[in-house]
């Protein structure tokens, strides 16, 4: 008859059929289930109605008749002055913000004092007294705010307001200073007794952690509840500690890793900079190739020939390509052993030689590409060979200190072994007036560019047999011709 079964929990989303008649129900079963399901929902249920029938019965007689009386004077005290507007009433701001409402109401103590103070006369009406106390409270509060003293609950809140200051502010409204002073003294005494502001609004609230049930209206600290369920479950136990430790460990590891990454990237950038410098330098040095070849040749010559290297007449136009300070000369770069591996340097042969171009640079003569191995003209030899320098400006080799003639010629050996007497420096646009010694000449007339048109020159060509003879006699000339 009564099968044991468990009632299914009630599914709130399931559509339940509505049965219109009790007869439709299987009463026996239903009763049993209903009882059982009641137990099932016992928690929620017991909260609502613990033991329904007995309590309601007891309560029936107990619900009290509210006790109240009608106040006789009501009709007189409250006036029929309210007219309800046709629209819904919109709230005004709080009282403290609006107008001149005196929030303070005199209490018994104030009443008694005032009565004594007035003594049958009306020296000070209630309203003014109330107003004064109210103003004093506000002024004191402002004074406290200015000082920045935050009143604490339970701690005595002393009066910070000075009588003079208060009087200054309220002077326009106060008719008799004596009355004011009396009120001030009374108020101050009252404050000393109360140990807190008289106006309830200005009294400090009890602290949040206070548990005394007599203290009311604590501020409620903003509850920052974590939003996820996982965070809510975190507790202050060993497991959480362990987890946090793990997190810390991970974070530290990632920090190290990132630090290393950063270092790597810095190195990369350095390398890139160097590469870029290298390229730039290389581009600049591209124009050097001729020079370099010459240089190489020269080195070879030096190595192979006993001849002393002659720098005179060696012309170099490269230097202007390197504006000083902008690009470091290649030699400087190369000196840094760190970057020795670059192919550029390997290709460049003897490396000590790199410093030479600088020396040569100082000996620039722009007039003509020079030849490597030339001896200065020997005037004696010339003379013996019957070659006479042009007469007009007598060229005297070695006589530097003589007063500079306006026009002087000095000779050199040009291409093909010709003897050339220059009398015009195309760069300075001046007659050549320096020493007869060719090696000295460039020092004074340093050139800065190579873009000048070929210099006009006076060329005395003597393809004479004398010259041939001379060359025949001279090893150096011989060599020159060969080269």
């Amino acid at each position: 008859m009564s099968r044991p079964f468990r009632p299914r929990p009630l599914d709130i989303h399931k559509k339940l059929p509505i049965v219109k008649s009790v007869k439709d129900l299987d009463i026996d079963e239903a009763a049993a289930v209903s009882r059982a399901s009641l137990h099932c929902n016992a928690i929620a249920y017991s909260e609502i109605e613990p033991v329904a029938p007995p309590t309601t019965k007891r309560k029936a007689g107990e619900i009290p008749t509210p006790q109240f009386l009608i106040v006789d004077s009501y009709e007189r005290d409250y006036l029929r002055t309210f007219v309800q507007p046709s629209s819904y009433v919109r709230g005004r701001g709080a009282r403290s913000e609006t107008s001149e409402f005196v929030e303070y109401d005199l209490d018994n103590e104030d009443d008694d004092w005032l009565q004594q103070f007035n003594r049958e006369k009306t020296i000070l009406p209630h309203e003014s007294f109330e107003w004064l106390v109210y103003k004093l409270e506000l002024l004191d509060y402002k004074a406290r705010e200015r000082v920045g003293a935050i009143p604490l609950f339970g701690m005595p809140v002393h009066v910070l307001l000075q009588q003079e200051a208060a009087f200054e502010v309220l002077r326009s409204q106060v008719s008799r200073p004596a009355v004011f002073s009396a009120v001030f003294d009374y108020w101050k005494a009252k404050r000393a007794k109360w140990q807190k502001p008289v106006l309830r609004r200005l009294q400090p609230p009890p602290p949040v952690n206070d548990t005394n049930p007599f203290n009311v209206f604590r501020p409620r600290e903003k509850v920052h509840r974590p939003h996820t369920r996982r965070m809510q479950r975190r507790e202050n136990d060993v497991l959480s500690f362990e987890k946090l430790r793990q997190v810390r460990c991970n974070l530290e590891q990632s920090r190290t890793l990132l630090g290393m990454l950063q270092k790597r990237e810095e190195k990369k950038r350095e390398l890139l900079d160097i590469e870029a410098n290298l390229q730039r330098t290389r581009i600049m040095l591209k124009h050097d190739t001729e020079l370099d070849d010459e240089l190489v040749m020269e080195e070879n010559m030096i190595a192979s020939t006993p001849l002393p290297r002659k720098s005179s007449g060696f012309l170099n136009g490269h230097l202007p390509m390197h504006p000083p300070g902008e690009v470091t000369p290649p030699c400087n770069d190369l000196d840094q052993g760190e970057y020795a591996k670059c192919t550029w340097r390997r290709r460049r042969a003897p490396f000590q030689a790199r410093s030479r171009p600088l020396k040569r640079v100082t000996n620039v003569d722009s007039m003509e590409p020079g030849f490597l191995f030339v001896k200065p003209l020997d005037p004696e030899k010339l003379a013996s060979a019957g070659i006479v320098p042009p007469l007009d400006p007598p060229c005297s080799n070695g006589t530097d200190d003589a007063p500079v003639p306006s026009y002087r010629l000095h000779g050199r050996i040009g291409r093909g072994g010709r003897i050339i007497f220059d009398r015009w420096n195309p760069l300075t646009r001046t007659p050549i007036d320096c020493s007869s010694n060719l090696s000295d000449l460039p020092r004074k007339a340093i050139t800065s560019t190579r873009s000048h048109p070929p210099p006009p020159r006076l060329c005395v060509e003597k393809k004479t047999s004398d010259a041939q003879i001379a060359t025949g006699n001279d090893d150096s000339l011989n060599n020159l011709r060969i080269s």
Partner: protein, 447 residues
């Protein structure tokens, strides 16, 4: 039935607080009393309490000890058993007043009585037993003790654990204010309310009926009325129907008003707590309006943001307006607000005796009306969505009425017309109806 008295804790954690601080409170109990935190009478009692051990053996009947059980004449002129909770000395020698608790009734009827109201024949001294208890010798059997405990715990308090309940009763055991004047009415109060210490030794308080400021003397009230510009609660009117208006007051914007209202409400609500400030609450004040202004009838408060989905924290109909259906109006209104918010709601727990009764009645009426008219199947969720009543409340209501039945292995809702009529009749009248079209309101949003 019309009176509503929902006691509510302001937050869920408070019960725990109470539990943990219970012993602490008892340890401090005497100290606080001597500090004058309670009224002056308590201080006297505290002194006298020290003499208790000396007088124990005298067994003199007078003055009565705290804890004495005796019969007392109530206002119905019948004698009812009472327990003496407190006593205070009056002017004459050996002249005492006793604060008694009618053991048959709710604490709200505790009052100060004079000796002539007591039937001395019926006296049973309990002081001795108590003293022995303290000494640690258990004379009572466990059964006896449980019986006493059971009778001691009153209805409406079941949701409190013993420790927090004792603390609560200790701290509220004697009313501090016995009467208030509010507008047209002079009302007897029901419970202790933690007014500021300056008000602790006055028997009657005068409330301004509009701004709810409270004063000690009638002249002060009269003076206040001359300057008080309020004629209605300081908030927005959100509902008006006939002479009834509902105002919404923001606790943050009108702090003093909110606090005054809480002080006032606590006089009529046992388990309301004023622990936290009113910033986080909105107050909905029901008023009856006439040419003198808008007179408060009752109110309910509501958290601005309730994490637990509460749509009502405290609810009160002032005694003169009780039993007129205003309480049900307030409950109904709270659900109308929830509907506007598109949320389901439930009152903050635990409910008091009267609160439970009102809510049960409201739920029954609303749900049964729907079930009566509904055709076809119906889920609990649908019922909840239609009414903004939380599903748990729907289930508990229907189950307590035994309307959820089991047939052929599945739940059904039993809607026998006769049965429904019987339940509806038992649930009482609906009280005043809320007309949702007259509610002009937008849900609260933090600026």
């Amino acid at each position: 039935m019309g009176s509503v008295d929902v006691f509510a804790r302001s937050n869920g954690g408070l019960a725990m607080d109470r539990l943990s601080t219970g012993s602490h409170f008892h340890a401090n109990g005497d100290e606080q009393r001597t500090n004058g935190s309670l009224d002056a009478a308590s201080a006297v009692i505290a002194e006298l309490a020290q003499d208790t051990t000396l007088k124990r053996h005298k067994l003199t009947a007078l003055p009565l000890e705290v804890g004495a059980r005796v019969l007392c004449r109530w206002r119905d002129d019948k004698y009812h058993p009472v327990r003496v909770i407190e006593r205070r000395k009056l002017t004459g020698p050996d002249e005492y007043q006793y604060y008694v608790h009618y053991t048959e009734f709710n604490r709200r009827l505790d009052e100060w009585v004079k000796l002539d109201q007591l039937e001395m024949e019926s006296l049973e001294q309990e002081g001795e037993e108590k003293a022995d208890d303290k000494a640690g010798s258990l004379k009572m059997t466990r059964h006896q003790k449980r019986k006493i405990d059971e009778t001691h715990v009153e209805e409406g308090h079941e949701d409190f654990d013993a420790a927090s309940l004792r603390e609560h009763e200790e701290f509220t055991k004697v009313k501090n204010i016995s009467k208030i004047e509010l507008g047209k009415y002079e009302i007897d109060t029901w419970y202790f309310s933690p007014f500021p210490p300056e008000y602790s030794n006055c028997d009657k308080l005068f409330f301004c009926e509009f701004c709810l400021n409270f004063l000690k003397r009638k002249e002060q009230l009269t003076r206040h009325m001359r300057k008080c510009t309020y004629k209605h609660p300081p908030g927005d009117e959100i509902y008006r129907s006939g002479s009834l208006s509902m105002f919404e007051v923001d606790g943050r914007k009108n702090k003093i008003y909110g606090q005054n209202l809480c002080y006032l409400a606590k006089l009529f609500l046992d388990h309301k707590t004023l622990y936290y400030d009113v910033d986080f609450f909105l107050f909905y004040i029901l008023c009856e309006c006439d040419d003198r202004g808008c007179h408060m009838v009752g109110y309910f408060s509501k958290e601005k943001h309730s994490e637990e989905g509460y749509n009502l924290a405290c609810i009160l109909t002032l005694p003169p307006y009780q039993r007129k259906g205003y309480g049900k109006f307030l409950i109904s209104f709270s659900y109308e607000l929830s509907k506007k918010e598109m949320k389901v709601g439930t009152p903050e727990r635990p409910l008091s005796d009267l609160g439970l009764l009102s809510y049960r009645g409201y739920w029954t009426r609303v749900l049964l009306d729907i079930i009566k008219k509904h055709r076809g199947n119906l889920s609990i969720k649908e019922l909840s969505d239609m009414t903004a009543i939380k599903t748990e409340d729907v289930i508990s209501t229907l189950q307590s009425l035994e309307l959820i039945q089991y047939r052929k292995g599945q739940h059904v809702i039993c809607a026998d017309p006769k049965l429904l009529e019987r339940h509806l009749k038992a649930a009482g009248k609906g009280g005043l109806e809320v007309d949702p079209t007259k509610l002009i309101w937008t849900p609260f949003k933090e600026q």
